[in-house]
């Protein structure tokens, strides 16, 4: 297999507010979009001819990946105008594909090891994985190695083997993509028509972000593998422990304490006296003012966080301006989202371009939409739609 098709057109409705302005595949983990991890996994397996199916906010994909040169791959872009489904997306790539190819989702986090071996499999195969909570996914019903059917989000699991959305196909698949919207349906039709589809199980990581707070566990997984580096200026009295990666042009001011794994992007100003605790990713061009503590969180590009804040288990999207003494402490929050209980403790989920005045307190688990404004001394809770004003 020398070619891969990555489906990166989707919007990811359930990940709102983070997917209002970007495709799901461009969600950032440790300062890199999920899609980059997928491309790197392919390159790691020697697959450098990659067709990217893009749609929603495709310019962001173009701009970030360009011709693929920086990652050592050749990218061909194909547009899916309307995001109708994965089979429809794949069908758009028909004119750009070889005789056989891999198909992957651009918004699932994988590593080189996840698809090792699968790259040389015979076409007509699905990569599957055993998971603890199969009800969120497409469950694969097996007959030995052969796939009997794929059932999307079943009421009863019947099996803990799920579909990773990674396939090896020959061009035959295009005979089945026209009549359905999603690839599992196309596969079920192929099986019904007498084709053999084999399942290959992977032991490697495969993580899917379905809800906004899933970003934290994906970020944590990625940070475990990060390499330390420093392209910035570290002032006197700064303490760095564990693995810390600091981008070009970033200044870590005196007496800041950073305990890895932590990734900090380019052009940031951190501290003095800032405290960045493990499993935190900070984007480019971010300012963290003195005496602010951040733990197990993802902070986007251009964010400005004032002095004396506490931010735990939170995701803060790009361009937010947060004044002093922001409190986003984490706690277990059993609220149901789409009928499913959150399993993890979370602090705040904050959409892009929000402005929070001084001394705002966020109740654990609050979800704030994009471009919201909150006046000083307010307590926010629940779910705030985009462009909410809290006065």
């Amino acid at each position: 297999m020398k070619q891969a098709v990555i489906l990166a057109a989707g919007e990811g409705q359930r990940l709102r507010p983070f997917t209002v302005n970007r495709p799901k595949a461009m969600l950032s983990l440790a300062d890199k979009p999920i899609l980059q991890y997928v491309i790197e996994a392919l390159a790691g397996n020697g697959i450098r001819n990659i067709v990217l199916v893009v749609g929603y906010r495709k310019e962001q994909v173009y701009d970030y990946f360009g011709s693929g040169e920086k990652l050592g791959v050749e990218l061909t872009y194909v547009t899916q105008q309307n995001q109708l489904g994965t089979a429809h997306a794949l069908a758009q790539a028909k004119g750009a594909t070889d005789d056989e190819f891999l198909v992957l989702a651009g918004d699932n986090l994988i590593e080189t090891g996840t698809i090792a071996g699968f790259a040389s499999v015979k076409p007509g195969a699905v990569l599957v994985k055993k998971v603890a909570n199969p009800l969120r996914y497409g469950v694969v019903i097996l007959d030995g190695k052969r796939v009997r059917a794929i059932i999307e989000k079943p009421r009863e699991a019947g099996s803990n083997v799920v579909n990773t959305g990674i396939y090896a196909f020959s061009r035959e698949i295009f005979d089945f993509t026209a009549s359905v919207l999603d690839i599992p349906d196309a596969i079920n039709n192929m099986i019904a028509a007498g084709h053999t589809i084999n399942a290959v199980e992977t032991e490697g990581p495969w993580l899917d972000a379905i809800y906004p707070w899933d970003i934290l566990s994906l970020n944590d997984a990625v940070l475990q593998k990060v390499q330390g580096s420093s392209g910035g200026v570290i002032e006197a009295g700064v303490s760095l422990t564990g693995t810390v990666a600091i981008g070009k042009g970033t200044v870590i001011k005196s007496h800041s304490y950073i305990a890895g794994p932590v990734v900090i992007g380019e052009g940031c100003t951190i501290g003095p006296h800032a405290c960045i605790l493990p499993a935190t990713s900070i984007g480019d061009n971010v300012v963290i003012a003195p005496f602010t503590e951040i733990e197990n969180s993802v902070i986007g590009n251009d964010v400005n966080i004032g002095p004396g804040g506490l931010i735990q288990d939170s995701v803060i999207d790009q361009g937010c301006v947060i004044k002093g003494h922001f409190n986003a402490c984490s706690d277990h929050n059993p609220n149901l989202a789409n009928g499913e209980a959150r399993e993890t403790s979370i602090g705040v989920i904050l959409g892009e371009g929000c402005r929070l005045g001084n001394n705002v307190v966020a109740q654990p688990g609050v979800i704030v939409g994009n471009y919201c404004q909150v006046q000083a001394f307010k307590l926010i809770s629940g779910t705030l739609p985009d462009r909410s004003l809290v006065f």
Partner: protein, 593 residues
């Protein structure tokens, strides 16, 4: 980033190399060169010009083996000497290189001690000399040995006068081999050779390839390896434009990143040692430039005057050369994307003769302007291919903000607002790009007219000029930028239902006066397109078309408005079917007066 190319086959190498090089110019174009093997020697042609100009200088050679290079300077200024290919002492071995050799300084010194004569300031030149040192009849071995001494990144192609083969190698820089019929190509990327070959071998990290007209052998760590052949189905434009239809649209969309990159370039230096950029004050400042850069200079005048309270002069370099006067105390900043604009360079020389301190803001490392200047501020926009400047203009504005902020005489609260606001700009620009649907709709309507006026006041007046310039240069619609208050001194006579007016009207100190101007325009039946802040109701009521834009500090509104006007011009030109990246009669870098 540079582009490299190699050809070996039965056809004349020169024209093929030059043709492929034009496709690599998006990787850099400050200088270029080729080497062609003829009989027992190498003919080398190179200069600090673009490929098109070099093509005119190169005589048609019979040679059928050659290498070529197009350069974007990192070590050593763009000049004939520093252009590739680089040779050994004998002129029998030549190398083209893309990448950065990190240990070139000690290697240079060692080679010089051993009697090698290195003539350029480049990191690359050590490679041919190292190969010469190790060469005793086996070029492949010599190249492998030379690469063993080198640290850093490289994609190289080596040609030797006595050999009917090319040697290629890569580490951390891309390189591919295009397979033809009794001919082979080596290039930085696939599009460079797609007109000649559609079967391609991708070289992997650390590969060394020996390429003849009918064979390709690849080795990794000295052992032969098999690299598979790939058939390429896509067409040339795709990869270079990375999915976009035109370079201009690609460059417009790059702007959030360009702003962030420019920040990363400045932050440590500027905040720790801000005053060193332009000396100890910005008094008696003269800003000089041409074209779009002149509009950046005009915005710079407003920025610096507002922040420091000192008056600033902004002048056209082409006029200053004939009539301009400076005082001894003058400090000057010249702005030129290419750093090669003839009028600007002439003005620089005049300023230097008068004893002025000159700072250059330029996008090209090592350009003539950067060498003439006492201080240089580099914008980090990267190569700009589209003739219409977009991202380089934005980067110039960012450079001016960064330059002026350390001198600002404003209270701390305002300073905090400004520094926070500046950091928010990339995201705000992204919002403009993400919500371009409204702009496209307006552009399609404007495309039907032959005359358009652009008006504004204050810091956005230069943006009216720039918006009109973008529109006229790519869509060929006659567009004029005017200070809104000047409309009544003449242009009123031209207004009417077939002459739309584009008004830039953020809610700053000029807002009420803009409302008055807009009413005057409406009274004369001109269709009105207004660029307003989100939530604006007064002007939105008056206008026929509205482009709502994210709210920013008034000082930074030129960035937001100019991006919106770039998109407006682009989609109007697109609707009219114009050759957007290469408009008629225009050149990217104007090196004649």
């Amino acid at each position: 980033m540079c582009g490299i190319i190699g050809y070996i086959g039965e056809k004349r190498a020169g024209p093929i190399l030059l043709d492929c090089l034009t496709r690599l110019e998006y990787r850099g174009y400050d200088s270029c060169g080729i080497a062609v093997k003829t009989d027992g020697s190498l003919e080398i042609y190179k200069d600090a010009v673009r490929v098109r100009e070099l093509s005119r200088q190169v005589p048609l050679s019979e040679g059928t083996i050659g290498v070529g290079h197009t350069r974007w300077a990192t070590h050593g200024a763009p000049s004939k000497t520093n252009a590739h290919p680089h040779c050994d002492c004998s002129g029998k071995i030549a190398v083209v290189h893309n990448g950065v050799i990190t240990n070139y300084q000690p290697l240079r010194e060692r080679l010089a001690r051993e009697g090698h004569n290195l003539v350029s300031q480049t990191d690359t030149e050590v490679i041919p000399h190292l190969i010469e040192k190790y060469y005793n009849g086996d070029l492949e071995k010599a190249v492998a040995k030379a690469l063993g001494d080198i640290e850093g990144s490289y994609a190289i192609i080596v040609i030797a006068a006595g050999e009917a083969r090319l040697i290629a190698a890569r580490r951390d820089s891309p390189l591919i081999i295009g397979l033809g019929d009794r001919e082979n190509f080596i290039a930085s990327d696939v599009p460079a050779v797609l007109d000649y070959a559609n079967r391609v071998v991708y070289l992997e990290e650390g590969d060394l390839a020996v390429v003849t007209a009918d064979s390709v052998r690849v080795k990794e760590g000295g052992r032969p390896v098999k690299r598979e052949e790939n058939k390429i189905l896509w067409t040339v434009a795709d990869a270079q434009k990375a999915g976009y239809e035109h370079f201009m649209l690609k460059e417009i969309h790059e702007q959030p990143r360009v702003i962030r990159d420019t920040f990363a370039e400045y932050v440590p230096g500027a905040e720790a040692n801000g005053n060193s950029i332009a000396g100890d004050s910005l008094e008696d400042l003269l800003l000089l430039s041409c074209g779009t850069s002149y509009h950046a200079a005009l915005v710079g005048k407003y920025i610096i005057e507002e922040l420091t309270g000192s008056p600033v002069r902004a002048e056209l370099a082409s006029e200053f050369n004939y009539a301009g006067r400076v005082s001894m105390r003058n400090r000057a900043i010249v702005i030129s994307q290419s750093g090669e604009t003839a009028d600007t360079l002439k003005a620089m020389k005049k300023l230097k003769d008068e004893g002025c301190q000159v700072t250059a803001i330029t996008n090209v490392v090592g350009s003539t302007a950067s060498r003439l200047a006492d201080r240089v501020i580099y914008t980090r926009a990267g190569p700009e291919i589209s003739v219409a400047a977009t991202k380089s203009f934005t980067a110039q504005l960012i450079a001016l903000y960064r330059l002026a902020l350390p001198y600002a005489r404003v209270d701390l609260r305002r300073m905090e607002k400004l520094t926070v606001g500046l950091r928010q700009l990339p995201g705000k620009v992204q919002q403009v790009l993400d919500n371009k649907a409204a702009i496209i709709e307006c552009a399609v309507r404007l495309a039907a007219y032959e005359n358009v006026f652009y008006i504004s006041r204050g810091i956005n007046y230069p943006i009216a000029l720039e918006g009109a310039l973008k529109m006229k240069e790519i869509s060929y619609i006659h567009a004029e930028g005017y200070a809104a208050g000047e409309l009544k001194h003449g242009p009123f006579a031209l207004l009417g239902a077939d002459r739309p007016v584009v008004a830039i009207a953020p809610r700053d100190g000029t807002y009420d006066a803009m409302v008055t101007s807009i009413k005057e325009v409406k009274a004369r039946q001109s269709p009105l397109l207004a660029l307003v802040e989100e939530g604006d109701e007064v002007i939105s009521e008056l206008a026929d078309m509205v482009i709502p834009l994210p709210v920013v500090e008034p000082l930074f509104s030129p960035v937001i408005n100019s991006v919106a006007l770039q998109l407006l011009a682009y989609y109007a030109a697109s609707k009219r079917g114009c050759p957007i990246d290469f408009p008629r009669n225009l050149a990217k870098s104007v090196t004649v007066e």
